[in-house]
């Protein structure tokens, strides 16, 4: 720990630290077109965001109810099947009853005809529109994206979706929003085709949770997060187990290696020259 080494270390740390900081500031500089990036969302305390945090399944259940009532009118959820909800947010009987409320085209039957039948657990979530063209035609040319993976498919994740849904406001003075679009500072560009759909009391919760707009949005965002990452609970549990086991094994391996090498590393090799080593012949 000489003065030279300390000085060297401090110089390197200063160089690297200032270099990293200046690079970061350069990449994230304020500029005139930040509206194109969208306002950066705040950091919301979703429990599943924490390093070892998992989903609140009661919230997933309320969120699916919100999705069914409000969002499924325009948004599809193609990658989620009724069976995915079983033992996650609803019991098997409840899910069968919910699925049976919808009609699905099946067939052909023995006559060769297609027929309609009530939904089963194996069916996917019902689509609001048959295809993208129909969706665009019904929404003034804008396509309501499929929400199965939306929290993974958008920069900002759950924070962005939550801020977007609660972030509708009047545009600032001088900003004109095209007819048919709505101002939302979090949406890149500022003008989003979707109108605000979540207001206080727009949905009633069966478990009596107060249905403020913030609560409704929090629950639907949790549901969408689950739809995109259904494996999160198991992944984090297995992750903690893996960290515990591997760190123990690593420490064990390091200790055993040092133990076995001790004999070699502490040996002394001594050369005892004969008495007449330096004697000239």
């Amino acid at each position: 720990l000489s003065a030279h080494n300390v000085l060297l270390g401090a110089s390197v740390a200063t160089a690297l630290g200032s270099g990293a900081s200046l690079y970061y500031l350069n990449q994230n500089a304020a500029h005139a077109n930040m509206e194109a990036e969208g306002l950066h969302p705040a950091d919301h305390p979703f429990p599943q965001k924490k390093l070892f945090g998992t989903f609140d399944h009661a919230s997933i259940r309320r969120g699916f109810h919100v999705f069914k009532e409000v969002c499924s009118a325009c948004h599809s959820l193609d990658l989620v099947y009724w069976r995915n909800l079983v033992d996650v947010a609803y019991s098997e009987e409840e899910t069968r009853v919910m699925a049976a409320e919808y009609e699905y085209r099946d067939g052909p039957n023995d006559n060769g005809d297609m027929f309609d039948r009530p939904g089963k657990l194996v069916d996917p979530m019902p689509r609001p529109y048959a295809n993208e063209e129909a969706a665009r035609a019904a929404n003034a040319g804008a396509y309501p994206p499929d929400l199965s993976l939306i929290t993974k498919a958008r920069h900002g994740g759950v924070d962005y979706i939550y801020s977007l849904l609660t972030g509708y406001c009047d545009p600032p003075a001088g900003v004109k929003v095209q007819e048919g679009l709505h101002y939302n500072p979090y949406f890149p560009g500022g003008a989003i085709a979707m109108a605000q759909n979540i207001f206080d009391g727009v949905v009633e919760f069966e478990d009596g949770t107060p249905n403020t707009a913030a609560q409704i949005t929090k629950d639907v965002v949790t549901f969408l997060n689950w739809a995109a990452e259904p494996e999160l609970d198991d992944r984090k549990k297995i992750g903690v187990k893996a960290i515990l086991l591997f760190s123990t094994l690593t420490a064990l391996a390091l200790w055993i290696k040092r133990n076995r090498w001790q004999t070699l590393k502490t040996r002394k090799i001594v050369f005892n020259p004969p008495k007449n080593w330096n004697a000239k012949k």
């Binding site: 998992t54 609140d56 009661a58 033992d87 996650v88 409840e94 478990d207 609970d233 549990k237 903690v240």
Partner: protein
């Protein structure tokens, strides 16, 4: 306590488990299975306690009709 019996324990383990490959392998498998059962049971109990009230199994009694 372990330090006092280190030589005896080591000799016993070596002579009865490590000398023959068949006993060595059996010891490894038994230790592995045993550790796996103990570790998983203990960890699952801790994890379920830590996530109490958030999982489906915790809330299903409100909705399932038996």
């Amino acid at each position: 306590m372990v330090g006092y019996f280190t030589r005896a324990v080591s000799s016993f383990t070596y002579r009865n488990f490590f000398k023959k490959e068949s006993t060595y392998f059996t010891a490894i498998v038994v230790t592995g299975v045993g550790f796996s059962i103990v570790f998983n049971t203990a960890f699952d109990k801790y994890w379920n306690n830590k996530t109490a009230g958030t999982k489906w199994v915790d809330i299903k009694d409100r909705y399932v009709q038996n």
